[in-house]
Symmetry: D2
Subunit: 114 residues, 4 copies
């Protein structure tokens, strides 16, 4: 027996794992950050029960990273994005976020409810 | 406020999204199915709260697919694997499975409890 | 000893492998095809020596695929995209394409020269 | 017109792009490094014209990385692996390697010939 709240939490977890592991490693620069944000959000919003995906690829963090070396791009990782995903499972909503926490990207279930 | 049951469901969802989108697309043949199974399971078991991952890459399904054409390998997709993941979040367990359902790979939250 | 023509061919091969295995598996629908095309092209153009990337995510093929079942999206694979990549390695150009050939996605080195 | 040497270089480039972008981001620890090495090598060896793939996931580098923080695993990136791929295209061999070079993972075409 699984509740709607647990189903909603499961579904928003799937979206986060998908988002991170589909797109981590993508070559990204400040100039291409915008198109990647849009594509990630629209891709994940295709998935079942997904209501809204907000992706911020952090251009300032990319610029700071690239200022230190000769490369003009890097690979997308959790350090370079903030994400919020909202799922609605039969009327129960789950909201999760990813942001940096003490140097590590933390995926956090923020709220589950109606 | 998020319950331990919801956290456990969220965590097992992350593992499923990770597993699928990290490894879907991997070149796979009946001969390499075994090493891929082991690597997927050990990779996902690294993630927080993950107790057990069982991956069955379906060699029979791979052989049937490859019997129809000239290729000797294909890309890993949900049609070619069955997966079970068990997460323990502070004493609450969540179990999820992926298997084919009417032609589509279905990720299903099977149980959440102590 | 490696010639510039061989280096150009190597570099365009890297771009193709990157493009395919970074983005295969992405959830895609006719509505999200456009943003994915743009993001793929801009991501790969970040890589060294890459002059131009053209990606066509095939909305007609996506619609035909989705007409057969209940799902509103599918996973990106070679059946749903045509790609051309141009690399310039120290004045030597290499052009490669991917398109379907007898039911399989074929990556083909089209031309190497000045 | 494309020579066999250029085709061999293109093919070995594809293998490198595939290997890196399929497996970068995989959760990895010193304990799971061995199974990942084997799976990566066997996966890429499935691809056309691929004769040999050698993958060394650098357990010492993983241990050094993890010694600095609370996490027990990290994500696979170029810093944590050395790779050699050998392709044979109709009798012409191409050899490529990836290793760290001044802080960046460098993919290098080492040799093309008979």
């Amino acid at each position: 027996m699984v509740s709607s709240a647990e189903e909603a939490a499961f579904e928003v977890g799937i979206k986060f794992g998908t988002l991170y592991h589909q797109f981590a490693g993508t070559p990204v620069s400040p100039a291409s950050a915008g198109s990647l944000e849009t594509a990630i959000a629209e891709a994940i919003e295709n998935q079942p029960h997904c209501v809204d995906v907000t992706v911020d690829v952090l251009e300032d963090a990319l610029e700071a990273e690239l200022a230190d070396g000769p490369a003009e791009y890097t690979e997308l990782t959790g350090r370079f994005m903030e994400v919020e995903v909202v799922v609605d499972y039969e009327g129960t909503r789950a909201v999760a976020r990813m942001a940096m926490d003490d140097g590590y990207p933390l995926m956090e279930l923020v709220n589950v409810g109606e």
